[in-house]
């Protein structure tokens, strides 16, 4: 009887030690769900969701504090992905947040006064320039978040939609007449 008890206690102590050790050794840093959600988000860092960037929105989604339809750059496909990931129902975009065509910011360099306000606003450091020097956008790194538009004191930044050319052209969904079957 006592031997059995001792064996059970021994096993319990041993397993507890193993569990305790692995809890320290294999501790997961951060919330893995946040990482997964962040991977789905488009990383425009535009703040249209009401959070200061994609990661904070992902954190809020992981805690269940935000709706999944707050990310216009992600498009409806993004909502579907979030719905799948979080096991939620699809919700369409609200009234005020229709997804826009993809675009990049463009600085009218003749108007720019070199105030650096847009550089400070850019979440991905896609603007090059210095005080009292002309600024310009690195188009390949611009996410089209529009955060540089508001701070510009001379309104020299505009958003140019990305035009289709031979490098980014895509095959269209095949559309052809379907014969009526009577």
């Amino acid at each position: 009887m006592i031997a059995a008890l001792l064996v059970m206690i021994g096993i319990a102590v041993f397993l507890g030690a193993v569990l305790g050790f692995s809890a320290i050794k294999f501790k997961v840093q951060g919330n893995p769900l946040v990482e997964k959600i962040d991977a789905v988000l488009p990383q425009t860092q535009c703040g249209q969701c009401g959070f200061p960037g994609c990661k904070p929105y992902a954190e809020a989604l992981a805690k269940g504090e935000a709706d999944i339809n707050k990310c216009p750059p992600g498009g409806e496909e993004g909502i579907h992905k979030l719905a799948d990931l979080l096991g939620k129902e699809f919700i369409p975009f609200g009234e005020g947040a229709p997804p826009k065509a993809k675009s990049v910011a463009f600085i009218d360099e003749s108007t720019c006064i070199g105030c650096t306000l847009c550089i400070q606003a850019c979440p991905v450091d896609a603007i090059v320039g210095a005080a009292k020097q002309m600024h310009t956008i690195i188009a390949s790194e611009c996410t089209g978040c529009e955060l540089c538009l508001a701070p510009c004191p001379v309104d020299c930044i505009s958003m140019l939609p990305i035009a289709e050319d031979i490098t980014n052209w895509k095959w269209r969904y095949p559309v052809f007449p379907i014969q009526a079957t009577i």
Binding site: P42, W169, W171
Partner: protein, 561 residues
């Protein structure tokens, strides 16, 4: 020798090859202008190295390769560069691309060029020559040949020379093999040398007996060893690289595996020919054999300068008025040209003049009945009906699971579909959507990295600023304590826990006290020689000023109350 193996599926469309093989390859007249696209190969677009207005010689490089996967572009004749701008090109999109337009001067004057003896030249040098000569795969894929003629990881046993030319209407390789077999085989020897390949197998479809005979004779005449011409059965798409390798060697190159890993490499016969011209004669790729056929008076093969506008080429074959469009390539995989003014490129093996009588508009598509005829003919052994289903439903993940990217877009499935569904268009749509998503994901990854780095930098800058400020304050406090100790021993020393506001107030009080002291120490000068009357006036004025000051003070007090 007959082929011993076969691939899965395949179709037998009417070949229409005899129309254009009745007469030998003809030279074209010099066109009025050449529109030479700078992107005629797989990889990065060549960078223009000429200026508008510059006079160029035949064979002069006008676009230099940019990056590893790229290739050179040359002036096909001597003349003047009249424009470097966006022009329509032979592309499915119908979008313009950067082209160099040259107006020929009619002299056709060559730039200085000499060949090398490939046996006496280092391999890296030979590959460099191929790259600088703009040699790319002329079977239609236009992959840079210098990159294909290199294998350091895997031993190449067999080099396949592709003369199958399986697509209907096209006969350019057939005519080249009939007329210039010796140079093709010499080029093949250069490529074999570069790959250290043991044997060369030349696959030619058995509907080209003249080409097979000519090539066999050339093998004997040229005393080429370990080189065999194999007649392969006529079935579309036997000219696909993987399909031909399978027919000739029985080796199947699986999905995601490169043929070099299996000891195989494949070149088109015209590529071997232009490799020989480039190495032995120093001639860059300036022209190619183009089959002009379809709705024309006399279908024929022409040796065409790259950049020749299609309409000028068609005129030489006798274009007919009811031609409504032109197809570059064959009817199975070809590109419908956005305009008849586009220039001939390295990929243009054939131009078919199309008319409604020749190619009637496709019949309306019916729903898929899942008859699986497409699966029976698919040379890649895919399930096209499933791929269609997933592509149609935008279920791209599933389409990829079903090996969408193994599809070679040969069009055999579309050809046999009893419901007339444009299956290949669905696969192309799905592929380009998947590529676009991948690019978006990469851009997002870049944006995330940059954003995170920015956050880190801002945090770091904040910390550095705080540290600097703390150090400065500390230094100032030390200096002040030292100066206070010397000048004003009576001043209250600041304790280490003193409130910053109190410290500021103390400093202000001290400054006021110093100012007062200075004011009382200052005595009015020039007053010694004044009369008593003047002294009395000064005293009076001082009294008035003091009174006014007092009144102002009491006023302020009243107001503040």
């Amino acid at each position: 020798m007959k082929a011993a193996f076969k691939f899965h599926g395949g179709v037998h469309p009417p070949t229409h090859k005899t129309e254009s093989t009745r007469t030998p390859i003809a030279q074209t007249a010099l066109p009025s202008k050449l529109v030479i696209p700078l992107h005629q190969h797989v990889g990065a677009r060549a960078k223009p190295v000429v200026q508008v207005g510059e006079h160029v010689l035949k064979g002069q490089m006008i676009g230099k390769p940019e990056g590893r996967l790229s290739n050179a572009v040359h002036a096909s004749t001597s003349g003047t560069v009249s424009a470097i701008d966006l022009q329509l090109v032979a592309h499915h999109s119908g979008q313009p691309d950067l082209c160099v337009t040259i107006v020929p001067d009619g002299r056709d004057e060559w730039i200085a060029h000499t060949g090398v003896d490939y046996k006496q030249t280092a391999h890296t040098e030979l590959r460099h020559l191929l790259r600088q000569a703009g040699v790319v795969g002329l079977g239609g894929a236009v992959f840079p040949s210098d990159l294909k003629a290199y294998s350091n990881k895997h031993k190449i046993k067999t080099m396949v020379l592709n003369g199958a030319e399986c697509e209907p209407y096209i006969t350019c390789d057939d005519m080249l093999m009939r007329e210039r077999p010796a140079d093709i085989l010499r080029g093949a020897e250069v490529l074999r040398e570069l790959l250290y390949a043991e044997e060369i197998l030349i696959g030619i479809e058995d509907n080209k007996p003249e080409a097979i005979a000519a090539m066999r004779q050339a093998v004997i005449d040229g005393k080429h060893e370990h080189m065999t011409v194999v007649a392969v059965p006529t079935v579309y798409p036997s000219g696909g690289a993987k399909q031909l390798m399978r027919i000739l060697t029985g080796i199947e190159v699986a999905a995601g595996v490169r043929s070099t890993e299996k000891g195989l490499q494949c070149f088109n016969v015209a590529t071997a020919y232009s490799a020989w011209r480039a190495i032995a004669h120093g001639e860059p790729l300036l022209s190619r054999i183009v089959t002009v056929t379809g709705n024309v008076a006399h279908a024929q093969n022409f040796e065409v300068l790259l950049g020749t506008p299609v309409d000028e080429l068609m005129a030489q074959a006798g274009s007919r008025p009811d031609t409504d469009k032109h197809i570059m390539g064959g009817p199975m995989m070809g590109v419908q040209l956005p305009s008849a003014t586009v220039g001939i490129t390295k990929a243009a093996n054939c131009i078919i003049a199309s008319s409604p009588a020749l190619f009637p508009p496709p019949k309306p598509a019916l729903p898929c009945i899942r008859c699986t005829r497409c699966a029976e003919v698919c040379p890649a052994e895919l399930q096209p009906q499933d791929l269609y289903w997933f592509a149609k439903a935008n279920n791209f993940g599933k389409a990829q699971e079903f090996h969408l990217f193994d599809c070679i877009e040969c069009g055999a499935c579309t050809y046999v579909c009893p419901s007339n569904i444009p299956l290949v268009n669905y696969y192309r749509y799905a592929k380009s959507e998947i590529w676009a998503r991948e690019q978006e994901a990469q851009a997002a990854e870049l944006a995330r990295e940059r954003h995170e780095f920015r956050q880190l930098r801002i945090e770091r800058e904040k910390q550095e600023k705080a540290e600097k400020l703390a150090q400065k304050e500390k230094a100032a406090a030390v200096a002040k304590a030292a100066s206070d100790a010397v000048q004003m021993p009576t001043a209250t020393p600041l304790g280490p826990n003193a409130d910053p506001d109190d410290a500021m107030q103390l400093r202000i009080d001290a400054a006021l006290a110093r100012a007062k002291e200075q004011a009382s120490a200052a005595h009015p000068k020039n007053t010694e020689t004044l009369t008593p009357q003047q002294h009395a006036e000064i005293a009076e004025a001082d009294a008035r000023r003091a009174k006014a000051h007092e009144m102002a003070l009491s006023d302020a007090e009243q107001k503040s109350e």
